[in-house]
């Protein structure tokens, strides 16, 4: 195996929705790589395209959404070239997904056990019903559910929100996936339950060494669980880097703004929040140039005209901002003069 083989490679991915009102470029050119044993967070506001990007990987884009450019490579295979049947095999098998609302993603008319066994047998045709039930119970124990035998016979409505999310995680992991995409798995939960689920996911990740993509809008959760972070704004990736770089030396005004505008529970004194002014982008008529420019306090003329290129700022830390381009140029010139 060559060294630079990644678990997942996304190259310049474009996803568009062809609505009657016009084309909505939900994802406009995203690239990243994910290795085994790595947790990557994707942060962004609603409508930033963070979920659509993940749906594209799993082949779950709903009409009128379409991948219109770029490539997705999972374990060396081209995901976009796969047939429907091959995608069905991939989904839930080697790559699994957990959704935001466990109530709507579990089938209300089947028992928990039934659904877990179905997930397993869909991918492993040879396994007997008894063995499958046994595995399902092991999984439920692993995600911290007690009285598994009784739980297997229960329906989703009989469980609490936190329990349901645990069942979803068990279902996602039952075929030992290499990649897990978690789409806001804790957003619908209370803080104490969120803490339980985050601890559980950290624990499971250590045991299974899978790669996880964690989609969220909560920077606190990102700091808690992720190794690296992608920050998205209006379908564009504005900054990407290791979690410490993003939090301690953010290189994009949007990331900076997000960090500054959040009140912190451990703050010592009352400081006025510094909000990001303006409103989120209307995706039907996105601004030309950098999508954040209309709200950016440092916006220059060029920002309104052209999307900035990515500037490498250190190991795996890149940012798309004209300010950084300028700095990089100045540095280069300084070197030439010297």
């Amino acid at each position: 195996m060559s060294e630079n083989k990644h678990l997942l490679e996304v190259e310049d991915l474009h996803v568009s929705f062809f609505t009657p009102a016009g084309e909505v470029k939900a994802v406009g050119g995203i690239s990243y790589t994910l290795d085994e044993d790595e947790v990557m967070g994707i942060v962004g506001e609603s409508g930033s395209g963070k979920s659509q990007e993940a749906y594209a990987i799993m082949g779950l884009l709903q009409s009128p959404g379409k991948v219109i450019g770029g490539s997705i490579t999972f374990e060396g295979e081209d995901v976009l070239a796969k047939t429907k049947k091959e995608m069905t095999e991939l989904r839930g098998g080697r790559a699994a997904m957990i959704f935001q609302n466990p109530m709507t993603s579990l089938n209300p008319v089947y028992t928990i056990g039934n659904q877990l066994v179905e997930a397993l047998r869909a991918h492993d045709k040879a396994i007997s019903k008894e063995d499958a039930a046994q595995r399902a119970m092991e999984m439920l124990t692993m995600v911290g559910i007690n009285n598994v035998e009784q739980r297997m016979k229960q329906y989703p409505h009989e469980l609490s929100g936190g329990m349901r999310q645990r069942v979803m995680i068990a279902m996602g992991l039952i075929c030992h996936p290499k990649l897990l995409i978690a789409d806001e798995p804790t957003t619908a939960l209370d803080v104490t339950i969120q803490a339980q689920i985050l601890e559980l996911m950290k624990d499971l990740q250590k045991k299974t060494h899978m790669g996880i993509i964690f989609i969220t809008h909560n920077l606190g959760v990102v700091a808690e669980i992720c190794d690296k972070v992608c920050v998205m704004y209006a379908g564009k990736m504005v900054e990407q880097g290791p979690v410490d770089d993003i939090f301690y030396s953010p290189a994009h005004p949007y990331t900076e703004g997000l960090l500054r505008s959040m009140p912190r529970v451990d703050a010592d004194s009352h400081e006025r929040l510094i909000p990001i002014e303006g409103t989120p982008v209307d995706m039907l008529n996105p601004p030309e140039g950098c999508p954040f420019a209309p709200r950016c306090p440092h916006a220059m003329k060029v920002c309104l005209q052209k999307m900035p290129p990515y500037v490498e700022l250190g190991e795996a830390h890149r940012s798309a901002c004209w300010l950084r381009v300028q700095e990089a140029l100045e540095k280069k010139e300084g070197k030439n003069d010297g």
Partner: protein, 346 residues
């Protein structure tokens, strides 16, 4: 000494459930608190802990089951507790209805001018078939606050300006606005009657992260300029911590702790407050790697059938036999710092 604007004593709110004997859902259980003029009292707790019900019951949008609400010296509700506890043969006990005199309550119409509310979901709380101008103007008309048409439209303009919207927005419908703007309309509507006291019921949870801080700042500015008093309800402890001078923590219908915002953060007395504080994710990787987190076992019990004694004992890591049997008293352990826990009585 600060002046009390609102005082609540032993407030109960039960929702009867069809087909079930007894009190039904015990959403608010024996809550006592006061709010000083010009301050913000934050209320935090998990979903289903009764914080929204408490906020609405104070405004009498829900009729209280019993207790006392005093606003600016005027008693707006006073009723006796209509249940008594009866011991069962098997050792348990149930609440049985008893006859009490009819509660004393004032007509709320004139109080609505002083006490207002901002709702959680701005899209659901604005009438989709009314323009923003009509929504704001309706409150002005009902209370007869403007005599002429010109005065009325001037007032609407002023209110829109106050919340950072343009004058031409008055002719648009709610669906034409983004979530943050809709919430601004909701705030303008509450301000239209020049209230003194506003219950902010999760006013920012439905908004995007970058918009939340805009609204928080606006609420703070309004408080300074207009001398408002807030009851700020939210489940996000970091926001409540930011905006409130004092914070109350609720668990399963009861207030378990109440203290100055800084004090609660540095020195939480009740085990539940400690857990809640440690569970809030902090946007700082270094802090989250090093800090100790208390993770609670299990889920929040049903308020239909709350645990006996201290309602938190089923999940409390320090629970003893005493906690199971009798409910701890909510009392002042340090000046200005109330809590309800047997552990603190030693």
């Amino acid at each position: 000494m600060a002046e009390k604007l609102l005082e609540v004593k032993n407030l109960h709110k039960y929702f009867p459930v069809k087909g079930v004997k007894g009190p039904g859902v015990q959403a608010v259980e024996n809550v006592s608190l006061f709010i000083n003029k010009g301050e913000t009292l934050g209320l935090v707790g998990e979903s289903g802990c009764g914080k929204t019900t408490l906020g609405r019951t104070i405004l009498r949008l829900h009729e209280p089951t019993s207790g006392e609400i005093i606003y600016n010296g005027e008693t707006i509700y006073k009723g006796e507790y209509p249940f008594e506890r009866k011991e069962l043969e098997n050792g348990g006990s149930v609440l049985v209805k008893k006859n009490v005199p009819k509660a004393k309550a004032v007509d709320m119409f004139h109080m609505r001018r002083k006490m207002q509310i901002i709702f959680q979901d701005p899209a659901a709380s604005l009438d989709p078939r009314m323009t923003v101008g009509e929504i704001i103007g309706e409150a002005i008309d009902i209370h007869g606050l403007c005599k002429t048409k010109a005065e009325r439209s001037e007032r609407i303009k002023e209110l829109l300006d106050r919340v950072g919207l343009n004058t031409e927005h008055a002719n648009r419908f709610p669906h034409e606005f983004s979530g943050g703007q809709q919430q601004r309309v909701g705030i303008a509507r509450a301000l239209a009657v020049e209230p003194e006291f506003i219950v902010c019921d999760e006013p920012i949870s439905a908004l995007d992260v970058s918009i939340q801080s805009q609204v928080v700042n606006m609420l703070e500015d309004m408080q300074q300029d207009l001398g408002l008093t807030y009851l700020f309800i939210a489940h996000d402890l970091s926001v409540v911590r930011h905006i409130s001078s004092r914070i109350g923590v609720m668990y399963l219908g009861s207030l378990v702790e109440l203290a100055e915002s800084y004090e609660l953060n540095k020195n939480p007395l009740h085990p539940y407050s400690q857990t809640l504080l440690s569970a809030v994710p902090v946007p700082d990787p270094e802090v989250s790697r090093t800090r100790q987190r208390i993770v609670l076992e299990g889920d929040i019990p049903s308020p239909m059938n709350p645990p006996s004694g201290c309602r938190f004992h089923t999940r409390c890591p320090y629970a003893s036999e005493k906690c199971k049997q009798c409910a701890p008293e909510f009392k002042e352990h340090q000046p200005g710092h109330w809590a309800a826990c047997h552990l603190l009585d030693k």
